[in-house]
């Protein structure tokens, strides 16, 4: 470590200035705009917390909020459980592991837009989901998955989970590398069952990964936009409306910038706890 020469200051300040100008400054602006009524023309009119009061009484917003909670739990829960089980199954090198891992990884490189279109094909009335149900003799279960408000959100969620599991699996595979196998062997010798060894020995050693996965999943869930936009645009009847899609529609379709910013601020406030959690963990690993 030594004193800081001018070139090094430039090295730091150029990227920092860019981030301040295009990330932090806009973010601060959003807070201000959320306190105004503004259609983008002329000056914003200051209205205090009125947008937030209106949000509290807005049935679409409430629906989006409820859907988002369902999304966090359903998308987060399913992809974490499946991703972790897959990591446990594919942890040790043996024949076929490389192939199986690649199969699970591959969807995660597709964009959420592409994933959404893939699954629109699968969910189409004559698509393969209904086709498969027909083959299995479950013809009664056939549905217009994305057009039916009672199934649309879950249908989109399944598509998102299909893509996300590979990512969660990567994180757990990395975490499992840090698990000390001798502890488990010792427990096995002492007669601990697989179930006990997993919960008492492996899980506690995965605490760090769990924290990261939890924070990443919640933050991702709160900003989920693309896949819903590609599949249903929040419909039918707002049944797949999430906070992000409602925010986007309010801001860019109905051009109600103050109200849209208020939704964005709500998303931020919901996310900030988990962002701080993630940062706390990141700061610890930097030591």
């Amino acid at each position: 470590m030594r004193r800081v020469p001018p070139l090094i200051w430039a090295f730091l300040l150029v990227p920092l200035a860019m981030e301040l100008a295009f990330v932090f400054w806009p973010a601060i602006n959003s807070f201000y705009i959320s306190l105004t009524k503004w259609n983008g023309v002329g000056a914003p009119e200051y209205v205090g917390l009125k947008n937030f009061q209106n949000l509290a009484a807005d049935p679409i917003f409430i629906q989006a909020l409820v859907n988002n909670v369902y999304w966090v739990i359903g998308f987060g829960g399913a992809s974490v459980v499946i991703g972790m089980l897959l990591a446990l199954a594919l942890n040790k090198p043996r024949r076929g592991v490389g192939f199986y891992r690649s199969a699970i990884y591959l969807p995660m490189v597709f964009s959420l837009t592409v994933t959404g279109l893939f699954w629109r094909l699968l969910y189409a009335p004559s698509g393969s989901v209904n086709g498969l149900l027909g083959l299995l003799g479950l013809g009664d279960w056939q549905k217009q998955w994305l057009a039916d408000p009672s199934t649309a959100l879950t249908a989109v969620l399944v598509a998102a989970v299909w893509r996300q599991c590979g990512y969660i699996m990567v994180l757990y595979l990395a975490g499992l590398k840090g698990v000390d196998p001798t502890l488990e062997e010792a427990a096995a010798v002492d007669g601990a069952s697989r179930w006990q060894r997993f919960w008492r020995i492996v899980m506690p050693q995965l605490r760090g990964v769990n924290a990261v996965v939890f924070a990443v999943t919640v933050i991702d869930s709160l900003r989920t936009f693309d896949i819903v936009w590609a599949m249903t645009q929040g419909g039918p009847y707002n049944s797949t409306q999430l906070l992000s899609t409602y925010m986007y529609q309010t801001a860019f379709t109905t051009v109600n910038l103050g109200y849209g910013s208020a939704i964005a601020v709500v998303i931020f406030l919901l996310a900030i706890v988990f962002i701080i959690g993630y940062l706390a963990r990141a700061s610890k690993t930097e030591d």
Binding site: P15, A89, A124
Partner: protein, 289 residues
Amino acid sequence: MTTTDLSHSAAARSEKTHKRHPWVFHAYMAPISLIWIAPMVFVVFVAFRSFADITQNGLGALPHSFSWDGFATVFTGGLVSQALVNSAIVTVFTVFFSLLLSSWAAFALSRYEIPFRRVILLIMLAGNLLPAQILLIPVARITDSLGIADTLFALILVQVAFGLGFYTFVLHGFMRSIPAEIFEAARVDGAGELRVYLTVVLPLTRPSLAALAALATTWVWNDLLWALTVLRTESKFPINAELLNIQGGYVSQWNVVASGALIAAIPTAIVFFVFQKQFVSGLTLGAGK
């Protein structure tokens, strides 16, 4: 649960079980990976079927035809070739400048006594964790008032700025692990800051840069939200934004939609297969192992 290798134990007993019954492992992993692959195979089938085949035999049926019609329509009916060029431009520039600028910041923060460097690093990372929604409206306004709205330049600028924090954080962790002696040796040889950066830091950071580059390429290529926010003219759309137009224009022509989705997916799939190792290690870099 009883047959699965849930505990991934190295215990001798289970090792033996696996050697005796490798089929148990495959008996559950083969169907699972089939579930993962099946949607992609289905889309490939649809993309290469003719429209007549789909309407006659149903979308879910096995192919009775082989046709390039879907792809032909995608390229003639939409602006897909333009969109692919736009995506390539945006991806190349965004990835290059993201890594360049973040390697600068990471070098400065990791090797020099900059006041509050830890706080600065965490604040930079925090910027990348913000939900993009909090930025959309002001970013659209700012690009407007700078006169760069609806340009690929603005899209690149915004994505570089938004990604910087994460890349800086990852590279910082890596640069800190480079032994101080290497830097001392370079300085004894009379190397200035720039020389150290170019001849010591960059070569040693190459594995991390490669991993981040693989990752960033797919992230930037896959973007939709920033493109929708910054761009208005269809001829400037990158591929994922253009895909939504194709879907809107060819709602019931499933072979066209499938072809378009495949075209958008293939470049990232190539990056994945060629750089799988870098890609996977890139994903875990940021997870604070």
